[in-house]
Symmetry: C2
DNA sequence: TTAACATATGAACACATACTCATATGTAAA
DNA sequence: TTTACATATGAGTATGTGTTCATATGTTAA
């Protein structure tokens, strides 16, 4: 699937080898991609930012992010799977909160980036 | 499109209003989503990580990330558009380098996250 | 000029993703 | 039990994305 690389003759093998030695592992690359993918959707960003302030139930979240209950619930499932949020059941209600405060730091780092342009 | 929110009666309006006051602006949300989207692909992660070490031409990059020249070139276009890489032409060669070192910090923050799980 | 090469790009395809709609599940109150 | 409500989820759909293939563009050397 990548045969045409063989036809290229301008490769600086020393540089390439040196850079490849410092390469991330395949697992690190996959993990990073997955983490950033979770943060690459507006609805999820709003949900996480809301939960960074306060524990909220699904219908509160739907109101905050101005999306349907169903849509929010689907996104919460992804966030649960990614272990970014945890939940607590209280009767029919389900309260969500951040499972990893670390994400807040990624947010502020990201905000610093887009403001720095 | 979000009519069913009206049917929900469990909303804690005080909490919701308080959280909405601290909400990110629509532009901030879009900017964050775009930034993280760029970082959510393995090929782009590898390219950026390689460029964080050294300026490289397209065919060097293809060799480093083990992808076709075409694929790498397409991704470099996205990275150029997002102003994450800049380039320098030298004859037929085009050398790319990071335009925003800030991205490296997002990387290490992301790595810290996936290791912390 | 022509030939060779490095890079860029358009079209097509396969695949993923975010939403809506309808409905299922589970809980509490009547 | 029946009814009402909060949440979860499956199916369907529209849209987006990453790769490949073929080819165009642009540069250098013969």
């Amino acid at each position: 699937m990548v045969e045409d690389r063989c036809e290229i003759q301008c490769v600086d093998q020393d540089k390439v080898l040196k850079v490849k030695e410092n390469a991330l592992t395949e697992e690190e690359v996959l993990g990073l991609a997955e983490t950033f993918k979770i943060l690459s959707d507006g609805t999820r960003i709003k949900i996480l930012q809301a939960l960074s302030q306060e524990e909220l139930c699904v219908c509160d979240l739907a109101e905050v992010v101005e999306m349907s209950q169903s849509s929010v619930s689907h996104q919460l499932r992804l966030l649960r799977t990614a272990r970014l949020v945890k939940f607590r059941k209280a009767g029919k209600m389900v309260y969500y909160s951040l499972d990893d405060e670390h994400i807040v730091q990624l947010f502020s780092q990201g905000l610093a980036h887009i403001r720095h342009r």
